[in-house]
Amino acid sequence: MNQLVLQLLNGLVVGSSLALVASGLALLFGVLDIINFAQGEFFMMGAYVLWVVLGATGNYALGLIAATVVVAVGGGLLLLLITQPLLEKAHVLVLLATLGVSLIIQQLAQNVFGGDAKLLQPPIQDSIDIGPITYPLYDLVIIAVGLGLLTAGFFWLRYAKYGVWVRAVAQNRPMAAVLGVPVPRVYLLAFVISSGLAGIAGGMLAPVTSVFPNIGGPVILNSLIVVVAGGLGNFRGAAWIAILFGEVQAVGSMLMPPVVVELISFGLVIVLLVIRSRRKTVLVRL
């Protein structure tokens, strides 16, 4: 029983962080119909920015803010730069461009920081008792921040002016434009938020996973699976599936080897896709 509670919490740590990356990916697909293959590398950039700022200042909060802002602005502008000339052309070109960007960022990280894993201490070393188990407080903070951000995203999309406009552009771009919605600004916002979510997730998880150039590989793979299963462009669906995905992997690892858990996770995704294919999926929906 103790082991089950422990694994459920571990699943939430992985799932809530994955949900941030995946919901960013879903948002971008909803608004612009593009898949950003560099999202995993934005996650990695967030981890490195945290490592650099933490090394220079010793201030974790500052490092996390820097990770979010640097990746949001840098990633957002980068996406704007590479996708703008390609948006009116075939979508596969945007896909290939983001794939190229991901390889470049990965190689740059390798050259600048080296291939070794940078180990970070969590900023909070305490543990607390949750019933019969003792759990690291920092991991609980990751869960709280992850779920908090997803909830904030949910309400922002539902009630805030720009949130409503993001959904409007996702559902009917020409109509949104003729109603005065500044579509180019909404695009930029989607780029920035999507990148920023990956940046903050990378920064938060850095002390848990360590930091190395290929850290984004599994992240983008899992995010793509989650986004496809959650319904392309569906912010809420991506968040839920990410958390489910984290839980299945964590709880499954109690019962069987990790490879089998992975296979079951992928099987689950296929089942979800079959179910989803029977009904029309929708874009950014709340």
């Binding site: 559902q171 009917n172 434009a177 003729v178 005065g180 919605v181």
Partner: protein
């Protein structure tokens, strides 16, 4: 107040709109009629800024809108209610109306919802319903109410009566008339001669990408008589 000079529009190699010039005054409703495929919808889309391959001058209260993006044209006072896919299907009726109001002040946003519900009370009853689940006629009403929410100086309306029951056509015609009384200029494309005759004091006839005449709908008793006149004019 509103003027289009020598407007051309292309789809690929096809030259769909071939040099149209027209005018709409403040508080005036003007019809644009013609057979299917002559370029009426393309004309409205070009004016709204939704087509990229266009040229010609579009003047709204002396400001040249040509070359501006659609959202800037909307903020300058140009509204557009398209024929199809006019609503955001996964948003509620109220959210749909709010989108048109979000570029205005908070006070105007509240007024906008009230005005939309006054115009079409059915929308008030269905305010929490997803717009994609409304009937075709209700979606038309929603799109028109939302278009008026923008408080446009000129509203382009494409086929507002298509697929509607006669009672609803009358409602739409009354809504257009009310808007003109409040000073909104309207350019409406519609196949319903009754609607054009009720709402518009004058109309342009269009055939194969060009305007072939300007008429007073009140002078004609049937759409056939009108078509015979303008097609005859063109042939002459």
């Amino acid at each position: 107040m509103f003027e289009v000079n020598d407007l051309h529009a292309y789809y690929g190699k096809s030259h769909v709109v071939q040099g149209i010039s027209l005018e709409v005054g403040r508080g005036e409703a003007v019809g644009l009629m013609g057979r299917n495929g002559v370029g009426k919808t393309t004309t409205l889309k070009s004016i709204a800024g939704l087509l990229t391959r266009t040229h010609g001058r579009i003047l709204l209260e002396d400001a040249d809108l040509s070359g501006m993006s659609p959202h800037v044209r909307a903020r300058r006072g140009l509204g557009y209610v398209p024929e199809a896919q006019a609503v955001f299907p996964e948003m509620t009726v109220e959210e749909n109306i709010r989108i048109g109001a979000l570029i205005q002040s908070r006070a105007n946003q509240a007024q906008c919802l009230d005005a939309a519900y006054d115009l079409f009370p059915i929308l008030s009853e269905r305010r929490r319903q997803l717009a994609g689940t409304l009937s075709g006629g209700q979606q038309k009403m929603l799109a028109l109410a939302r278009g008026l929410c923008l408080r446009p100086r000129l509203l382009l309306v494409d086929e507002p009566s298509e697929g509607l029951m006669p009672v609803n056509v009358e409602l739409i015609a009354q809504a257009l008339k009310k808007a003109t009384q409040e000073g909104v200029g309207i350019l409406v494309v519609d196949a319903s001669f009754d609607l054009v005759r009720t709402a518009c004091a004058r109309m342009y006839a269009m055939d194969r990408g060009v305007l072939v005449g300007m008429y007073r709908p009140a002078d004609f008793s049937s759409p056939e008589m009108l078509a015979a006149t303008y097609l005859g004019d063109k042939d002459a």
